[in-house]
Symmetry: C2
Subunit: 192 residues, 2 copies
């Protein structure tokens, strides 16, 4: 998606350690007009596929998924919660994910009544890099018996293995901007 | 807002300790069509007031604020982040808030460059009860020198002191549903 690539080139800040900061339009300050056009683009890409629900993960995925859902006939959005507590409530699907950015392990939970076996789910998130958060969401989908219709990502770091691994497993991944390389020294960002 | 009150009566679950669960449409599973109509209602209530930006707090405020922002000319949404870490980055406004629900103290942060002195800000959140999260957001607004044009709340627990305290301080608070009483034994919920 050209607009998103241009915006990343214009406002993205590259830091050492493969960090790409896009917090002035994507995940701290939110450009909701852009979110809307991203939603329209996913709706175009996934046209003809059945989407009963959108699944995302807090926090940065929520705004993007909620605005995008308006382009999918206002389907419900469910967001997985990250917690460090070991709640023993049996009414939740749960898995663990490792955050490379924050060097932590999170418990990720979704209430069982919000993922119904047989439902067709589109999974949306802001970033795809190592794929740890997405692997966690997909494990929850598998446990719930829902059908993952596709994965919509705003920014994929194509030089990290998450996207390739998901595509090898047969998932349809639609990343609106796929960064092929970035340079913390020069600030340059290239797209696939 | 009649639709929201009806929905709370229909789907809200009252638990001991003043807990009102509305997670099947407001803060775990999100009814984005309802969010849109809530945004339209705030736009009607705050018509004629200048809103340059919407401020909210993760996680449950984000989806509501992002969908609502579409009714305010797609102004940017900034969400405050909750963290338990003491990051010493001087580029952030920060304050502490106490969560009664989670019995914890959080550090709440907003990057300084996303709140510009003199900007007119509408603060939006899903719940208002004791008002601790809102007090934290308002402290950040004061520190940033922005003008708080109003406060939009989805569900106010009118029998807890947060809303009254804010109104006494002169803030314009528009709660779309104001619960006057609720009973965990019978499940009954009354509105003001």
């Amino acid at each position: 998606m050209r607009e998103l690539e241009d915006r990343i080139r214009q406002d993205g800040i590259v830091r050492e350690g493969n960090v790409l900061k896009v917090d002035n339009f994507l995940n701290h300050q939110c450009d909701v007009g852009l979110y809307d056009r991203m939603g329209a683009e996913w709706a175009r890409l996934f046209a003809g596929q059945r989407v009963d629900k959108i699944l995302t993960i807090e926090s940065s995925g929520i705004g993007i998924a909620c605005v995008a859902a308006r382009h999918f006939g206002d389907v419900p959005v469910v967001f997985a919660r990250k917690t460090e507590s070991k709640n023993l409530d049996g009414d939740q699907y749960r898995t663990q994910i490792k955050s490379y950015t924050k060097k932590r392990i999170y418990e990720v939970i979704v209430a069982k009544r919000f993922l119904v076996p047989g439902e067709h789910v589109l999974v949306i998130d802001d970033f795809l890099a190592m794929g740890c958060a997405m692997d966690g969401l997909l494990q929850i989908c598998e446990g719930a018996g829902v059908i993952v219709e596709g994965i919509g990502i705003a920014v994929e770091k194509g030089f990290q293995p998450g996207g390739a691994s998901l595509r090898e497993q047969g998932y349809r991944v639609e990343s609106l901007a796929r960064v092929s390389s970035m340079d913390a020294r020069t600030g340059e960002i290239e797209f696939a």
